[in-house]
């Protein structure tokens, strides 16, 4: 503690230069006055906590390693071209190039295109729906609702996030699918659209709460300046606050999309699980996640399908990893701009 007293002296002698934060921290919390046993204990605890702190990095590394290690085996037996499509015979006996995921047929086919199209056919509409509703909800919570209303509404939105995905999948499968079929008269009862509606229930809370956070981080001066210039509440909101919070909001949309791509149980239960390469939203599809979930259980460890599924997992992990990374960079930029 004596360093505290000495500080002005130090500052004087070094031309008012601030000591580096690291050095000052070490001085202020220095352990020189303590018994060596206590110093040892402090050091040991520091190391122990640091190990736990670095655990997250280790875990991400392990996930990366074990996913790609197994996925890499698949690359050795399955040629790059086979991930895109295969030459198959059509019904007239002509040779055509087709995009099929059929790992269990006599000549296994591992085209990733139906799985990718399936994943995006669910994730993009889901992100679209939940962006509309989530941002509206977030704006209301952050800017329009009174303190009391917010204290009631916010927990309800959090409760939506707390509903297990398997329950939402179950509802989508048993109730929502019938409603959608009756309304749109679709050919398949379980299709990408039903899955997208189910998945959007999961991402709405993500987008809503992140939008709310982004808008509340906008400094009050901006609001006051805008009101001072005679703008109405909506004009302030749409021309000042939303543009200021736009990076936070876009980060929330990206994060929501990452979630939608990674969502498993809802799409497994509600999209029909037919690996069709299609752009039709009312067609049955199968996502990457659902493929892994439905086929890993029945594939022997070390078989080609097993490795192929890990490869699918690696692709999925890479896509979501980059989406999360971009969203994080965007948030970081917003923080710096608003100087938080």
């Amino acid at each position: 503690m004596e360093q505290l007293v000495q500080k002005p002296l130090v500052a004087q002698s070094s031309n008012l230069k601030e000591p580096s934060p690291r050095a000052s921290r070490r001085e202020n919390h220095g352990l020189r006055d303590f018994h060596w046993r206590q110093r040892f204990r402090e050091g040991a605890i520091h190391v122990f906590l640091a190990v736990n702190g670095y655990l997250a990095i280790v875990l991400i590394g392990l996930i990366f390693l074990f996913l790609f290690k197994e996925g890499f085996h698949a690359l050795q037996t399955i040629k790059p071209m086979q991930w895109i499509g295969n030459k198959t015979l059509d019904f007239d006996g002509r040779e055509v190039f087709s995009f099929v995921w059929q790992p269990l047929s006599n000549t296994p086919k591992y085209s990733l295109l139906p799985l990718l199209s399936g994943s995006f056919l669910v994730a993009l509409p889901a992100t679209f729906f939940s962006t509309l509703i989530g941002i509206g909800c977030g704006v209301y919570l952050a800017e329009l609702a009174s303190q009391r209303t917010r204290e009631i509404l916010k927990p309800i939105v959090e409760l939506l996030a707390g509903i297990p995905t398997v329950v939402i999948g179950f509802l989508a499968l048993s109730v929502l699918a019938t409603l959608v079929q009756n309304f749109f008269h679709t050919h398949f009862r379980l299709n990408a659209f039903v899955g997208a509606l189910g998945v959007s229930l999961v991402i709405i809370p993500v987008i809503a709460s992140m939008t709310e956070d982004a808008l509340r981080a906008v400094p009050n001066e901006l609001r006051e300046a805008s009101y001072g210039l005679g703008a109405t509440r909506w004009e302030t909101l749409s021309k000042v606050i939303l543009p200021a919070g736009v990076s936070g909001i876009s980060a929330s949309i990206l994060l929501g999309m990452g979630r939608a791509l990674g969502e498993t149980m809802i799409v497994l239960m509600a999209t029909g699980n037919a690996a069709l390469f299609t752009g039709n939203i009312f067609s049955s599809v199968r996502t990457m996640t659902a493929t892994i979930a439905s086929e890993l259980g029945s594939s022997a460890q070390g078989s080609e399908i097993y490795y192929a599924l890990f490869f699918v997992g690696s692709v999925l992990f890479t896509i979501t990893f980059f989406i999360n990374l971009i969203s994080e960079v965007v948030v970081e930029r917003m923080r710096r701009r608003l100087r938080l």
């Binding site: 074990f66 509206g136 209301y140 204290e151 409760l159 995905t165 990674g262 239960m269 996640t289 259980g297």
Partner: protein
């Protein structure tokens, strides 16, 4: 002109309010629907007996037991790790480059799809750790197969970011002046953390723990291949020294979320067993709903107390 602006504002603000109301309406409808349908099946017998007659009758007791066992093991593994990591981040590393990298890793961990955790559980825990343990200890095939232990370890990694983030938030809420007071009295950093920071942030840490239990209880994808069983005639229980009953971490287990999934999609007659599915969904939803609600209430009280302090 002025009136036009007001109308536009009124319209869009109404739209936002509509979105918020829609979300709340959805929550109420989902909960109301499951509870009204499920309440018809719920009985003491349903809660306390095992499935019978090819899973078309009987109750869900083993699934409830399995859910409790797996979340218990999960939180025992995840809570100490998560709290220690958060303490390190907030009290030791705070704003350095290490902390930035760790935070990025945590955010990415939170964004990893749950099925990827399942793959990781199989590839790392069962095949790498488990099989190698068997080889070293000559235990045959004890560790290297799907088991309660591996499933809960997988879930523990999944909920780790939840615990870390909420614990850190709780630690941040402790005023700087309290820390300085402790230092001023001659406390070391760890003494300060243990006597001042941790006790004050306990409610916040508890909130995170409850939220993560609820999250773990609701997850299905990570346990698909790491230990959940379609049907088990026995509970995953063993007796140490032949007398004290204990959860057997090397057994497989039934689980509520997984039970809903297989009953709704894989069973022989999903339409016939709909009432059972609604009943199971209601039990699972009451567990997660109850946990979430208590976490929210706890947090509101915690925040009020801090504001007063």
């Amino acid at each position: 002109m002025k009136r036009g602006r007001a109308i536009v504002g009124f319209f869009f603000e109404g739209l936002c309010r509509g979105c918020a109301l829609l979300v709340c309406g959805l929550v109420v409808v989902i909960l109301g629907f499951i509870f009204s349908k499920g309440a018809k099946t719920i009985s003491w017998e349903f809660l306390s007996t095992a499935p019978s007659q090819g899973m078309t009758h009987g109750g869900i007791f083993p699934a409830i037991f399995g859910t409790l066992a797996i979340t218990l093991l999960m939180i025992v593994m995840a809570l100490p790790l998560g709290v220690a990591a958060a303490v390190y981040l907030n009290e030791y590393a705070n704003r350095g480059r290490a902390a930035r990298v760790i935070r990025a890793a945590i955010n990415n961990l939170a964004g990893v799809p749950s099925i990827v955790f399942g793959l990781f559980g199989v590839g790392f825990f069962i095949l790498f750790v488990g099989r190698n343990l068997d080889k070293v200890l000559h235990t045959g095939l004890l560790f290297g197969q799907p088991a309660l232990l591996w499933a809960s370890a997988t879930l523990a990694i999944l909920v780790l970011p939840v615990i870390i983030v909420s614990t850190e938030e709780a630690l941040k809420a402790v005023p700087l002046s309290h820390r300085e007071a402790a230092y001023g009295l001659g406390a070391t950093r760890w003494q300060m953390i243990r006597r001042v920071v941790l006790p004050q942030s306990l409610p916040g840490i508890l909130t995170g723990a409850i939220l993560s239990i609820s999250r773990g209880a609701g997850e299905t994808a990570p346990i698909l291949f790491t230990g959940a069983a379609y049907f088990l005639p026995r509970l995953p229980v063993t007796k140490i020294f032949g007398m004290i009953p204990m959860i057997n971490p090397f057994d497989q287990f039934m689980e509520l979320a997984y039970h809903i999934f297989i009953m709704a999609t894989q069973s022989t007659n999903p339409e016939l067993t709909r009432p059972l599915q609604y009943g199971t969904a209601m039990v699972l939803l009451s567990i997660t709903f109850g946990l979430n609600l208590s976490a929210i209430l706890l947090r509101i009280r915690f925040r009020r107390r801090l504001r007063r302090a």
